[in-house]
Symmetry: none
Subunit: 197 residues, 4 copies
């Protein structure tokens, strides 16, 4: 059918734009990437860009949402596996989750930079409220209450842990503040334990 073909073509164009832009954004920064670079690299015409995106920042957001959802999903799957296969307890799961992300971003610092530098509340919302994330959050709170805590404290502590881990990653991996992430890890995981204690 014609319609299917057209839709498929659109998807291809969009993907080309995503991929080209991602490469440029992470290599040269969003600020130093101009629409012309993107379309040239994607092999489409300039006008085409505007058929798919409002502007450069719209594209950055779309890319961040896509990438972070993927990573978070993978992290959650990995945690799930450990839980099932190795019987990880609650704290172990949280730490493993953090560790998964740290290991990932060690190999893809540029993405971490892209995400951090362009974070906004709207973006955070979208990423954090994907269905799977919601489930994971609820599991966290559930577990916490089980251990004798209250729902609010659970939320806050999760928030504190996420903030601490994210910020440490960013400082060590992107800003290159001279505390190597591997050196800090031990203390970081100890701190998570303490916060959850």
């Amino acid at each position: 059918m014609k319609k299917a073909k057209i839709l498929e073509n659109k998807r291809i164009k969009m993907t080309k734009l995503y991929d080209a832009a991602y490469e440029l954004f992470t290599s040269n920064g969003v600020h130093n990437t101009v629409i012309d670079d993107i379309v040239k690299s994607a092999g489409v015409a300039k006008g085409t860009f505007y058929l798919y995106c409002k502007d450069k920042y719209d594209l950055v957001n779309k890319i961040i949402i896509r990438k972070s959802s993927t990573i978070l999903n993978n992290a959650m799957k990995a945690v799930e596996k450990k839980k099932t296969e190795e019987n990880f307890d609650f704290v172990q799961c949280v730490i493993y989750f953090a560790d998964y992300l740290i290991e990932y971003f060690k190999k893809d610092k540029k993405l971490l930079e892209l995400i951090y530098r362009n974070l906004s509340w709207e973006l955070y919302e979208k990423v954090m409220h994907y269905e799977e994330m919601e489930t994971a959050r609820e599991a966290f709170i559930e577990n916490f209450i089980h251990a004798g805590g209250n729902s609010l404290a659970a939320k806050y502590r999760l928030y504190l842990i996420v903030s601490m881990v994210g910020s440490v990653c960013y400082s060590s991996l992107v800003l290159n503040i001279p505390y190597k992430i591997d050196d800090v890890k031990e203390e970081l995981y100890r701190s998570i334990k303490q916060i959850l204690a």
Copy 2:
């Protein structure tokens, strides 16, 4: 004397530029502020700008360094006072320091945003290695060792605490992530205590 007058004039020009730029950067963002806005607002000629700054980002850095040094100094003085007058112990001091900054940034969210969005390792270095800061860091480590810890763990825990506090401030105050800073505070300070435990 003549020379003194000229130097005084230079200082005034510089201050006018700093103040105008600070106002514009915090109100509209660095990206949306153009040199023209700054000089118009400062009431100086465009060429004058380039007499004092290499470019816009040079000015941002200078402003950040100046502002953060002032705030950190004030925070340290306040802590010192508590220690002397109210006999605050080590952990209390750390928490009070965090609290001082949180309370400050609650009233000046825009500055926090400016600092965070333009942070780089070089900047961090400059701010963190002012003589007074160095003294405070050493005091922290000293205290920590006294309590039976080791120097490295001290450094890392300090780093973790700073990261957590900074990140929570930024998220709650700037990104407006819907955990009010005042609601999180209690858990935040508890977490600091735990990390230092």
Copy 3:
């Protein structure tokens, strides 16, 4: 066809830029002509200029190459005609070639000035190695050898003659050094003869 129309439009834009710039460069000098003058005079937008030229000096070069190629081609054709129709010998041809150029530049001093003031080795190369020029040069050397000379001497004498004629034209026509070109001509042609003797 559509494509042809677009290409035609591009050619027109380019021509408009060339013509406007040529007029301004020769009237006011390259230094005193700014991009704004050119685009205003050509009736195109400023951005359009940068679609066709890297900068002002790129345009100067392009204009010089175009103009000098045309003139040299015409000169060569005129010589050819004399040779065929009036049986001009070698020395007569060389002198007629010089004379053709002198007469041309007498009517277009400004172009001579433009060419001389912006001459560089790369430009010289480009102009001198157009296919037709190459043929003429070879004919010169050929003739010279025929008359008992050697190839190297031929090249050098051609170079000396070109230098002398060019320089005299420039001094008399552009710098207005008070030897009128018509007064010097006789001695100039005698000198060419002597050099070729």
Copy 4:
């Protein structure tokens, strides 16, 4: 006396400006040298520049006049010496004069470039009508008439020779057109002889 001291001071300032500007003009070109470079390099204040020169181009002219007068004078003295000591005849003298200049400019290409690129009729006039030059010119014409020529032909041939030598120097030494001046010399001197024949 005070007056003498003041005058001496002025002379020193002027010399500093000349020397600094000469260095910059020949190294970076007149176009790429700004007043600020000159005064900074000369170690005087910007305002001082305007006490001594109308503008940059005024200074270029002054420098060219000074430098070329010196060189031409030296050349003439050298010729005179050859004439007296080695009994050089007229043609030998002319060729030796050309050779002296060529050898000089081989060692100081930048000066040749400066002179050529900024030549104007007024400048040419000033340089050519220094008393000593006038004397040399007259000697040339005298000699020529002696040999049976007429005054006008003498002037024109001198003009042709000067043009040819100057232009060849400029092309070979400055534009780097790939005929090495040493390779062309033989033919150049032969041509001078022929023109004077």
